[in-house]
Symmetry: C2
Subunit: 300 residues, 2 copies
Amino acid sequence: MKASGFHTRHLVVVGLGLMGGSLALALRDHADTITAVELSLEARQYALDHKIVDHATDDLRAGVSEAETVILAAPVRAIQSMIERRIGSYLRSNTLLIDIGSTKQDICEAMGRLPVGIHAIGGHPMTGKEHSGVEASDGKLFRGRPFVLCPTRRTTPATRIRALNLVEAFGAGPFEMEADRHDHLVAAISHLPYILSSALVATVAQEGKADATVWELAAGGFRDMSRLAGQDVQMMGDILSTNTQAVATLLALFRVQLAMLEAMLISRDDQKLADFLRPTREARLNWIQHHENGHRNGSK
Amino acid sequence: MKASGFHTRHLVVVGLGLMGGSLALALRDHADTITAVELSLEARQYALDHKIVDHATDDLRAGVSEAETVILAAPVRAIQSMIERRIGSYLRSNTLLIDIGSTKQDICEAMGRLPVGIHAIGGHPMTGKEHSGVEASDGKLFRGRPFVLCPTRRTTPATRIRALNLVEAFGAGPFEMEADRHDHLVAAISHLPYILSSALVATVAQEGKADATVWELAAGGFRDMSRLAGQDVQMMGDILSTNTQAVATLLALFRVQLAMLEAMLISRDDQKLADFLRPTREARLNWIQHHENGHRNGSK
């Protein structure tokens, strides 16, 4: 791991799921004290028992009042609500506030209305795991992965430096961009894929009503294509409803590609079909090679 | 492994890729002699060197002339062409002829025009592997997986028994059905997913022209959803062009589901959206549980 300039006296992680637990583990050596704010007693107890955090409370105000760095690791709507309704008045001036919500425009706008003096910046680590919950926490989850940073009206040059140092401490690669650009890009690579996966499963489920054998025959291709449909509905509903415009745009663009494929298929123009599929295949192969190399090399 | 009644004097596998090699390995103890027919010298040499087969030739007529059992393990169009143009006159009466092509209607129709006396039946093992080529051969590839059998006009009751014994020798679970039903089901779980994966990659590639960062941020969700787009274009083109009607039907059904999701999204009807996504998620979770249990237990 690279040497990192990030150190904080008191880190507070709000939300103890896979992400919150992993953030705490990754920053173990970069914080004097780590406190978790989490409503679930079981999650708090697990994190204390496994020394993921030093202190845990269900009281947001008490938890963050002495913080130097606060990371909001809750679902998008919960993050937004904390920023809009409460946390501004609980934080000391000069606190670094960062979130890891999956959409950034609404959150960054809310951050922009926080009291002057709070160092607020939007964040989104592009990583994840099959399993959720604090039990799946992994301090290496962010290594070699992109970590998007989105400026807000409460992001000063000093905020930016602190956030970049934080990203470096995670072993992640920083990508600084405006929130709307982030939301458009993740609509393409994350939210559209989720919708396609769900619509595919819904289609197969309809087929299954007429002929249940469809489920018996489904194999590896369907497994991969249906995985995202198994994600938490509340979490994904939050994400989609805070990124409606970008997702609708990407859906429209997707339909163009799908319609072209369909026209070639129905007209039995095998040559055109192959001419469409070949560069698409190349694009995928190039990406996976780059992606897996990036992963192997750890930090970019 | 269960005891199997299948034994053959002389097995011929036509086509030495992942599937052909795996079929030969799986039947090692069920055949006195195994011959491969394959145009590639390298593949033949590899299979001989690794004792996957006993003999290898590039001459279809010479290869199959003494066969008791012939398995056609080539791409769909190549199988169809062999059946239509040549193999009927090369085979001895009473030979069991089975194929493993991914679509069954065209192949089974062609089989129905073979000389009377040839025991022909369509087959499709619902399995696969990330890697292709004879080097990836795996004798356990079929264990615990479905193996579809589709009757033809050259399928007698005796043909059926021989084919069922063959499937048992693979450790696979037989699913007997008409070719058109097979083609409709695989359109839903295999060909539609391929088209969606390709259209998704094409959409992201279009986005990438305006903002190449989209490739940098793509993570696990996109990896799964784009994998099928990396499949061999010639192979998939064959499959799609021999299953146009079913694929077009499934595309139309998919668009209905997609349009419903889109309407809920754009109208910001979060409740309806959740009501749609929840049973979809359940269907996926139920399937994966069943699928992985089936896999663990080996033969069903």
